[in-house]
């Protein structure tokens, strides 16, 4: 026999699973009608992508998480203003991008040098590789850096990236290739990638 708390817990798990299977548009409509669970599911679903976008602009993981959460707060308020509900991810990404830029301005992190030095909190290697990659990333344009972060941060598919960035998969492929070519050229100049 299950206790009441166990039953409630089980019900919540079932509701969460059901929500996880719903498309964005259904969740957005429910959230507009004031369903907090649907909004939470949307946040959970898009959190990694938003953190990646903010991280590419701010260069700091903790600040990026703050920016993503702030973007969700803004989205919660502005949600009824969203005209094309199917484009929720792109709309949210735009809010997150603006929030991150505002944060960067306020914390004076907008300069690329600062971004380069604060790309990751953790230092995986001490051989200078990480620093060189960070520096190379800082040389990229904001949009190119964003594509790189989305692709490598969360291992997003082109389809998911297309929804978030609001551009075609072909455009993403092109943008990613150009960004990687620039990175490769820069790193090769620094002595990496030579056999």
């Amino acid at each position: 026999m299950c206790s009441t708390s166990e039953k409630e817990g089980l019900e919540r798990v079932i509701v969460k699973r059901q929500l996880a299977q719903k498309p964005d548009i259904a969740l957005v409509e429910a959230a507009i009608r004031g369903d907090p669970d649907s909004f939470t599911e949307l946040c959970r679903r898009h959190y990694p992508a938003m953190v990646a976008i903010a991280h590419s602009a701010l260069g700091d993981r903790h600040l990026a998480e703050d920016a993503a959460q702030q973007a969700f707060a803004k989205a919660a308020e502005k949600l009824p203003q969203l005209k094309k509900k199917s484009q929720f991810a792109g709309w949210l990404a735009a809010i997150c991008r603006n929030t991150a830029r505002d944060m960067a301005r306020s914390t004076k992190l907008l300069h690329s040098n600062d971004i380069a030095t604060k790309t990751t909190a953790a230092e995986p290697h001490n051989d200078g590789t990480g620093e060189a990659v960070k520096e190379a990333l800082s040389k990229l344009s904001a949009s190119a850096r964003e594509v790189i972060f989305l692709r490598y941060y969360d291992g997003m598919s082109y389809e998911q990236m297309s929804a978030v960035l609001g551009i075609s998969e072909q455009a993403i492929n092109g943008r990613l290739r150009r960004a990687k070519r620039k990175l490769a050229n820069y790193l090769r100049c620094k002595g990496f990638g030579k056999v």
Binding site: A76, E77, L137, Y152, G193
Partner: protein
């Protein structure tokens, strides 16, 4: 860029920026942004139980067909209906150009009736009789029919 380039670059980027996947903590977010969460909840009270979804209704194929049919009918109605100026033109043309015999055919009289009712039919008959050069008080229906039949 070749595949070799791709491999070493992928490794470098992954090593540098690939961190643990961020997890959204809804409880922390609610505590951090209580006003926004309240705004979200307040919409539940305002929202109707069963909102009217005109947009989704209009997306259905049957609605599209019905809308197209209505548009076609309206256009058809206005195109087939003669303008008021045209009516006068028809009557005048009928009177001016046609012979008395033609003026009294079923087609001409029908047109006259549609344009001006029974009065227009009478007028057309009077004009036809005038053209024939007969005085209306002398002619009988029998004589008129005899003339029309050409007997």
């Amino acid at each position: 860029m070749n595949k070799k380039d791709d491999k070493w670059l992928d490794e470098l980027i992954t090593r540098t920026i690939n961190t643990t996947k961020p997890q959204f903590d809804s409880e922390k977010w609610k505590q951090k942004y209580p006003d926004e969460f309240k705004t979200l909840l307040s919409r539940a009270a305002k929202a109707p139980a069963h909102p009217i979804r005109w947009t989704s209704f209009l997306k259905k194929p049957i609605a599209k067909v019905a809308a197209a049919a209505v548009i076609i009918l309206v256009i058809g109605f206005f195109m087939t209906r003669p303008a008021p100026d045209k009516k006068v033109e028809i009557v005048e043309m009928t009177n001016a150009t046609k012979s008395p015999a033609e003026m009294l055919t079923l087609k001409s009289l029908t047109i006259a009736y549609h344009n001006g009712g029974i009065e227009a039919v009478e007028k057309q008959c009077d004009k036809a009789i005038e053209k024939l050069g007969l005085k209306s008080e002398r002619i009988t229906v029998q004589e008129l029919l005899t003339y029309i039949d050409g007997v």
